[in-house]
């Protein structure tokens, strides 16, 4: 009796496997990509490319990296910035020391180095759980920048330990203009985001979520806990490493180890809390929020209050709002902006009917 219906299902499995099941979603995404790749470079200006869009994309990628680990596999980390630093400095050294290595290969290798490092600091996760794990990730957070400052080799013996970006050439195209850097970042981020979506929908992604939701049960049904956790650390490290390299090279153009301090790790964590844990889209929403919100607030204050509040005070207020938002999201909407977006879309589908 089971096999009788198999034939009619087989076409649907392939459809089920597709990245986005709904046609409208696919269409929307396609349009968005066309817009981002073709239209934005035409209409954007330097400010938008260098100060908003590029950091937004890089932070989205960093959020994605942490989300794979924390949102999907349930392993809390406060060391994201350490792995970003590792990726940035590794990429720099690959470019510096291997003549003629293509830029994209350097990014990938930088990511691999960060992945290996992340794997090492993930080893304690096999023995300890929950927020005990933050001690291991914090060890990485403090150890890695220290080592990068301490040992001059990492920064090619620059007196102050600062590295600067190599020329941004991809396949002979010079991408060092603001728009070029934006496009380079966009290309990498989009490709990696698609890959991430594939991963979380594969067996590995399900295993991550199983470990997150109940690790004893996961072990009972035969999921190899150690391998699953370590893969989460490694893949997350890879994403963070590439994000770090992009941060250093396509965004700032220069970076010092302390640019990847604990505050950066918190920033990435806030992106996934606000954006939505266990969601790919959430990282983009969260990063957009983190990048845009301070700007909106200062613009708004300037506009409405005409400079009545001094900028320092505004920053304090912003800090308080951030803190409050984190708590509100944790209480009211643990799945973050991504969930709000889904609800909004669901309402849109019913529109104009109210209910």
């Amino acid at each position: 009796m089971f096999y009788s219906e198999a034939g009619q299902f087989s076409t649907r499995y392939a459809a089920d496997r597709r990245l986005f099941r709904l046609r409208r979603d696919r269409l929307g995404l396609g349009l968005l990509l066309v817009f981002a790749f073709a239209v934005v470079p035409q209409i954007g200006n330097d400010y938008w490319f260098s100060a908003i869009l590029t950091p937004f994309l890089v932070l989205s990628l960093a959020g994605l990296g942490l989300n794979l680990l924390t949102g999907y596999a349930g392993q809390l980390s406060l060391g994201s910035a350490a792995f970003m630093a590792a990726g940035a400095f590794a990429t720099y050294n690959f470019q510096l020391r291997i003549e003629g290595l293509p830029l994209l290969a350097s990014f990938a290798l930088g990511g691999v180095v960060a992945a290996l490092l992340s794997l090492v600091f993930g080893l304690p996760s096999l023995r300890i759980k929950g927020f005990y794990l933050i001690v291991s990730t914090l060890a990485a957070q403090f150890l890695v920048p220290w080592a990068l400052v301490k040992y001059g080799w990492f920064s090619n013996y620059n007196a102050s330990g600062v590295i600067s970006a190599p020329r941004l050439d991809v396949l002979g195209l010079d991408l060092s203009s603001p728009a070029g850097r934006y496009l380079l970042t966009l290309g990498i981020v989009v490709a990696l985001a698609f890959l991430a979506r594939n991963i979380v929908r594969s067996e590995l992604g399900r295993n991550w979520m199983a470990v997150r939701d109940m690790d004893t049960a996961a072990a009972v049904i035969g999921i190899p806990l150690a391998r699953t956790k370590l893969l989460a650390f490694a893949i997350s490290g890879f994403y963070l490493g590439v994000a770090g390299a992009l941060w250093a090279f396509t965004y700032l153009g220069t970076v010092e180890p302390h640019g990847f301090d604990l505050n950066r790790s918190f920033q990435v964590l806030f992106i996934i809390i606000i954006g939505g844990m266990g969601s790919i889209l959430g990282n983009f929403l969260g990063a957009a929020f983190i990048v845009l919100f301070p700007l909106l607030l200062s613009n708004l204050a300037g506009l409405l209050l005409g400079g009545l509040i001094d900028p320092g005070q505004l920053e304090n207020i912003q800090k308080m709002i951030f803190g409050a938002l984190i708590i509100v999201f944790l209480i009211r909407e643990p799945e973050g902006l991504a969930r709000l977006w889904q609800q909004f879309r669901a309402r849109l589908r019913r529109w104009p009917l109210r209910y």
Partner: protein
């Protein structure tokens, strides 16, 4: 040998200061299972409020009491607005909520009192005492004395008073405690307020050393490894953990620093804590829990 002893004693005394911060954590963790990252921000908030009042001419004890009152209000607000809505959620969620709380508290402290550095003089000369060739800091001895007093006070509070008994009941078994009529919300407020008191005292001692300013909130980072080593749920563990961290990081800086490079104190305690964790996943004094299915 003398030098070694000096380093060791200096380290142990520095460790007492770490323990102070860690005690605040332990209190809250015991009563509400929350790993309160905002403890550092509370230290900043308390110290800044106290100093700013003092600078406006408020006498010492009144400033102290007003600050304490403020910390009580903070405790009430935290219970009402953070803990109660998040009851029964995963520990990780609660931890992240305290990150948000830390942001709010830091922002509020600086919005209210400004960002400049304040000096704080508790009237203790910090000239070294010469004990048979060993130099020992008077101030550190004073701080150690304060810590000891505080621990004594806390143990009286928890062992001899009714509220202490209820607190221990809650720590042992939350559901059972509720069943016998202990009101969880009251316990939480009390514990957070006591943690506020600890934060104030910590803030005064640290503030007298560093000046009262933003980086006070960073002392939280020193307390984390202390907690891991001592275990989250034991005041005694926090003291021992603090001593271990203080002594070992100083010794490591002096004796290992020349080999691998100086300035290792930021990460050394964490690596040490990690090794401890691998050997004893629940800390020196923590209790082991069995996963039930």
């Amino acid at each position: 040998m003398d030098f070694f002893l000096e380093v060791l004693i200096g380290g142990l005394l520095a460790g007492v200061m770490y323990s102070l911060v860690a005690i605040g954590f332990v209190l809250i963790y015991k009563a509400s299972g929350v790993f309160n990252f905002a403890q550092g921000a509370m230290v900043l908030f308390a110290a800044l409020t106290f100093v700013s009042l003092g600078e406006r001419g408020v006498p010492f004890w009144i400033a102290f009491l007003v600050t304490l009152g403020t910390m009580l209000l903070l405790a009430l607000a935290v219970e009402r607005l953070v803990l109660r809505p998040l009851v029964n959620r995963a520990p990780i969620t609660l931890f992240m909520a305290t990150l948000g709380l830390a942001y709010i508290t830091e922002g509020a402290a600086q919005a209210l009192w400004g960002a400049q550095v304040h000096g704080l003089d508790l009237g203790i000369e910090d000239v070294p005492l010469d004990l048979g060739g060993l130099l020992v800091s008077q101030f550190d001895l004073f701080a150690a004395g304060m810590a000891a007093t505080l621990v004594l006070l806390l143990s009286v509070l928890f062992n001899k008073t009714r509220i202490g008994l209820s607190l221990r009941a809650v720590a042992d078994d939350t559901l059972a405690a509720q069943a016998v009529g202990i009101r969880l919300s009251r316990i939480w407020v009390v514990v957070w307020a006591v943690a506020g008191l600890v934060a104030l005292i910590t803030g005064l001692l640290w503030g007298a050393r560093l000046g009262v300013q933003f980086s006070l909130s960073l002392v939280v980072l020193k307390a984390l490894p202390v907690l891991i080593i001592g275990g989250f749920s034991s005041v005694g563990g926090a003291i021992v953990g603090g001593l271990i961290v203080g002594a070992s990081e100083k010794l490591a800086e002096i004796y290992a620093g020349p080999l691998i490079g100086s300035g290792i104190e930021n990460w050394f305690p964490y690596v040490l804590a990690m090794l401890f964790l691998l050997a004893r996943p629940t800390g020196l004094f923590g209790e082991r829990s069995i996963d039930r299915v």
